[in-house]
Symmetry: C2
Subunit: 196 residues, 2 copies
């Protein structure tokens, strides 16, 4: 768990990353977005890469805590998962999708970034596959391969993420298409939250 | 249509972008990957952004020429489209997916990049929607919304692209999931090419 100071550094990193991009990101610019000096930031993180690996872990922990839903009914779990992934507040206000995409584009050059993304991916796929498997067992969903469905859902979410960032697209319509696809595979359609 | 010199500059840009990333890309490094001086490159393109916008147009034209398939049978058109998108040679040898992802991550800061990606997206969706609509009309596919299917296919492809780059994933398995999804929606399954 990060300290308050580290959380403040991560918030500043997010703002600096969204404003200047990975290409323009420096310790000085991160400091400028916080109330700290760059020397103080260097005290916590030796290098920009150290800082960004920790920043990525911080984003991923936040997200994993959100999707660790404990509802007993697997349909509720899938619906809550979709509500979190498609949360319009998240994709607009805090700029995290832009920061995350910057780091994804860097993954071919930084194994430590890639490893974190692989962990996140495994977690997301597990959450979906478990909910699907439980739903099949309970007779709520038609017989299907939970891992194939998890791959499909995760890949679609990856696609929605890049479309939000690169095309400026609102994900509402795509959510509907994903729901229609779940219906085609599971014989069950999630209850959509009303989207702004 | 670009000149031979410009094509050589674009090939060098691709190599420099894959090696150094957007953050480390300079006219000098592009020159170092070619047989030209950076002055010669500046003669063709005033700024790095000018060069990258033209580079992006070059990538997109290459891709659009590939997917402009003229087969009369809409099933053949969809199959050929998938074969091009999932071409394993393309995703490994030439590094274009990495270069493209770098530029997608820059789209929030560069409207000229975003506009090109929006054009490309419209083209891909049109190719898919037309093939689906023609297939429904001809009685090959079940009744469905061609634009919803096009959105689903395109978003999945966007997701596969980011997974290839960020996670180093091979797209074979995801192609199978996409094909199962097309089968669920269209009542027809594409004939997969054997993948390496």
């Amino acid at each position: 768990m990060e300290s308050e100071t580290e959380a403040a550094i991560f918030e500043a990193t997010n703002r600096a990353l969204c404003e200047h991009g990975y290409a323009g990101l420096t310790m000085q610019r991160i400091a400028a977005e916080s109330s700290m000096t760059s020397a103080a930031i260097h005290y916590h993180f030796d290098t920009k890469e150290e800082l960004l690996v920790s920043f990525l872990e911080y984003l991923i922990e936040r997200f994993e805590a959100k999707i660790a839903c404990e509802a007993a009914d697997p349909r509720t779990r899938l619906e809550e998962f979709l509500d979190i992934v498609f949360d319009p507040a998240q994709s607009k206000a805090d700029g995290f999708p832009v920061a995350l995409m910057e780091l994804k584009a860097q993954a071919p050059y930084h194994d430590r970034f890639r490893d974190r993304f692989l962990d996140l991916d495994a977690t997301i796929r597990e959450v979906v596959a478990e909910a699907v498997a439980d739903g099949v067992d309970a007779g709520h969903f038609e017989e299907t391969d939970p891992h194939a469905i998890a791959r499909l859902v995760t890949t679609t979410i990856n696609g929605i993420h890049v479309r939000t960032v690169a095309l400026g697209e609102r994900p509402v319509e795509t959510r509907q298409v994903l729901e229609a696809t779940l219906e085609a595979h599971l014989g069950w359609r999630p209850d959509s939250e009303v989207m702004a």
